[in-house]
């Protein structure tokens, strides 16, 4: 451990945890065990560790949510800017700590973006004129003028997260606490978030980020605090941390500090795939499960009378073949048409032109929907039953159902309610529903968003197992590490 732990340092610190042990109400395990940590004024600190290591709990102690509003038992003392968790009022915390959460879709309270920026100020009793001045200032500071006066639900995840950061700084807090802010973002959005945090750091705001993705903010970080299984494993200044072997980071469940290698590998695979498609003549690999020819995807807006002739969004898709047993990754920036393409090949929306064939025969929308399985990013939209087994029995017999549950490692949970499962288990259950219905190809939308290294590898292995069953696997992803290590082919959408 390289940090000094004198009383005086802790007193001068902006945030300090002293011997913190925390247990969530109703949980049998301790989320934190005797954690000592501090963050100095103006410091940029990353709380690193795998999913479930306790880093979210630390952020909740820092912003005053735990132990009162997120109920639990706290031993030790957690202090932020002079406020003591459990004793200070949440209203006092709201003025000195800004908070940004993981899911951009569930942290805005207002429907309109400008109202959301005003929200914290209105609650604090700031006058109307002052609020408007502050919003104008924040918009200039972060370059988010284009996000004002918009319906937040219509913004992209990246835009929502930028708005969330701006909204969290409206009361000029001393500390900004972010809990896995990038788990739903693509590379461009991460860069935008990075720039906002850089501006805040320049202005002397203390920033604490709980993360297992390390690359996006590596140049800003002053110190890393590593947590594992609820205990503080160590504190490292940026230089020492960078010198640690990659193997060590992986043991802690962390993603790579430098994703340059993975990105280069992704580029190489894209080129290889393109070259192979150019060279391939006829069906050397047998009949593809799914093939698209001259496909145009998109949608039309509605006009005053009926539909508009010209589509509001249209993308030409290169001719593609998807074979059984292969994992094909679809990569590219947001808005390039990946999701629209996925919906089209699943028969969920009409193609603007071109043909889609399943097993060599041109398929109608209904036939596509019968052949396609999908694992959405929000898996809870696709589970309808009141037990795990019941979910699969909707489509098949008991014996097959149990066999598939066994393969997916869900048999022990067969009688539980799908909503009581963890995110990863729910994802596997959704895959199970596609397997039992004998789907020919399965599309997965961002299956590794928010996952630490170990879970990402687990999903990768699962994709491989799916492909080995003779399914064509299509995965939409921003995750360079997943794309580089597990995809057989990569297609870039531009």
């Amino acid at each position: 451990m390289t940090e000094e732990r004198g009383e005086r340092v802790a007193d001068a610190a902006m945030c300090a945890l002293r011997g913190c042990t925390f247990e969530y109400a109703g949980a049998a395990v301790r989320a934190l065990r005797d954690v000592d940590a501090h963050v100095r004024r103006g410091e940029f600190v990353v709380l690193a560790g795998r999913s479930g290591c306790g880093k979210t709990t630390v952020t909740r102690l820092l912003n005053g949510l735990a132990p009162v509003h997120v109920a639990g038992a706290l031993e030790g003392e957690a202090r932020t800017a002079g406020l003591v968790a459990g004793r200070a009022d949440i209203g006092a915390y709201a003025r000195v700590v800004g908070s940004v959460f993981q899911n951009p879709k569930t942290q805005y309270f207002q429907a309109c973006s400008t109202d959301e920026l005003a929200f914290a100020c209105e609650n604090a009793g700031v006058t109307g004129d002052e609020i408007r001045a502050r919003i104008a200032r924040a918009a200039r500071r972060f370059g988010i003028e284009d996000l004002l006066d918009r319906t937040i639900a219509e913004l992209s995840g990246g835009q929502q997260q930028r708005l969330a950061v701006a909204a969290a700084t409206m009361l000029d807090p001393d500390v900004l606490v972010l809990d896995e802010p990038t788990s739903n973002l693509d590379a461009d959005a991460m860069r935008a978030l990075h720039d906002m945090l850089a501006a805040l750091k320049r202005d002397g705001v203390t920033v604490v980020v709980a993360e297992h993705r390390l690359a996006w903010c590596a140049d800003l970080v002053d110190r890393y605090i590593v947590l594992d299984d609820g205990a503080c494993v160590g504190g490292y200044d940026a230089q020492t941390f960078r010198a640690l072997p990659a193997q060590r980071l992986r043991q802690w469940g962390l993603r790579a500090l430098d994703v340059g290698g993975a990105s280069a590998q992704v580029r190489r695979k894209i080129e290889e795939t393109r070259a192979r498609r150019m060279a391939a003549t006829g069906d050397a690999d047998g009949t593809p499960v799914l093939s698209v020819r001259g496909l145009r995807v998109g949608y039309r807006a509605r006009s005053l009378f009926g539909w508009k002739r010209t589509p509001t969004f249209a993308r030409e898709i290169p001719d593609l073949d998807f074979h059984a047993g292969r994992i094909v990754g679809l990569v590219g920036r947001n808005g390039a048409g990946k999701s629209t393409f996925a919906r089209t090949i699943c028969g969920l929306q009409r193609a603007l032109g071109g043909t889609i064939a399943v097993d060599g025969r041109t398929a109608t929308r209904d036939e596509l929907s019968r052949a396609a399985g999908m694992v959405m990013q929000d898996v809870h939209y696709q589970l309808f039953s009141d037990s795990v087994r019941g979910e699969l029995m909707l489509d098949g017999g008991r014996a097959r159902c149990d066999a598939i549950l066994g393969d997916l490692g869900l048999l022990d949970n067969a009688d539980r309610h799908p909503m009581s499962l963890s995110g990863g288990e729910r994802q596997r259950l959704a895959i199970g529903t596609a397997l039992i219905a004998n789907k020919r190809f399965i599309v997965l939308d961002e299956p590794t968003s928010g996952l630490d290294h170990g879970n990402m590898m687990r999903v990768g292995a699962l994709l491989r197992a799916l492909a080995d069953r003779g399914v064509a696997v299509i995965v939409i992803t921003h995750d360079d590490e997943l794309a580089a290590q597990w995809c057989d082919e990569l297609v870039e959408f531009t």
């Binding site: 284009d146 929907s369 696709q382």
Partner: protein
């Protein structure tokens, strides 16, 4: 349908945002401090429309009411919705008129006439409701309610409802998509054939989603200090202007005329 428009807007914004970011220095006008039509006038419109329906006013008064109450829609740039509602009302009137012409020869036309008449009677309410709730921003409504000294126990739920409204359509679409892929009720007809099962399939994920969102939202709102200040403020100033008073007078006159021709 509007989903597609929304998505298109997102796409456009995605491409323009980098451009916009380069003009960081330009001055930003944050919304308009004033609101075009005071939300209280629109709420009064809803009340008047309901009174008119209960009073069974004469057709002429009804027509005038529908025309007047659709004005906020045009003012707020919702011409498409306004034209659609007015066209619908015109069809209903035409149907009633045609029925009256031919009802002696074909007595069963009474059913059509009665239906058209009933729906037409509801039209002022529908138009006023659309005007009040699709053209008012949540922030304005909140400010108006705070000025009327409505307690937070009413104000906060209203904000939450308006927050959830735009997301429900998206949730519903996602659920229908996954139902279609699972082979349940791929189209609308199948939905009607097994209504109970279909309802369950739609409502369960919707509620499950709402529960998780509500949890997250509560934490986010707490960290922004919701409900911790005795006197929360409003960014916008909602004030009754001359035009608003005039509009109120017109609404009052409408009720009087309606009472006279009931």
């Amino acid at each position: 349908m509007t989903q597609t428009v929304e998505r298109a807007a997102v796409e456009r914004a995605g491409t323009t945002s980098t451009v916009a970011r380069t003009f960081v220095q330009r001055d930003v006008a944050v919304g308009d401090a004033r609101v075009a039509i005071d939300p209280r006038v629109k709420l009064a419109g809803v009340a008047v429309a309901n009174v008119l329906m209960i009073m069974h006013v004469a057709p002429v008064v009804q027509m005038v009411a529908v025309a007047l109450l659709s004005v906020p829609l045009f003012v707020a740039g919702k011409a498409r919705a306004a034209v659609r509602m007015l066209a619908c009302y015109a069809l209903l009137c035409a149907a009633q008129w045609l029925v009256q012409m031919h009802v002696d020869a074909l007595p069963w036309l009474h059913i059509v006439g009665l239906t058209a008449n009933g729906v037409a009677m509801m039209m002022p309410c529908l138009v006023a409701g659309a005007a009040a709730f699709t053209t008012t921003r949540a922030g304005d409504l909140v400010c108006a309610m705070r000025r009327m000294h409505v307690p937070d126990a009413v104000v906060i739920p209203v904000v939450v409802i308006m927050r959830f409204f735009p997301t429900i359509r998206r949730d519903y679409r996602m659920i229908r998509h996954s139902m279609r892929l699972r082979g349940h009720a791929g189209n609308g007809l199948a939905l009607l054939r097994r209504p109970v099962r279909s309802f369950e399939c739609i409502i369960v994920p919707l509620l499950m989603n709402a529960t998780t969102v509500a949890n997250d939202l509560t934490l986010a709102a707490l960290t922004k200090g919701l409900g911790t200040c005795a006197r929360p403020t409003s960014m916008r100033t909602v004030r009754m202007r001359a035009s608003d008073w005039a509009a109120l007078a017109v609404l009052a006159a409408l009720v009087c005329v309606g009472a006279a021709f009931a």
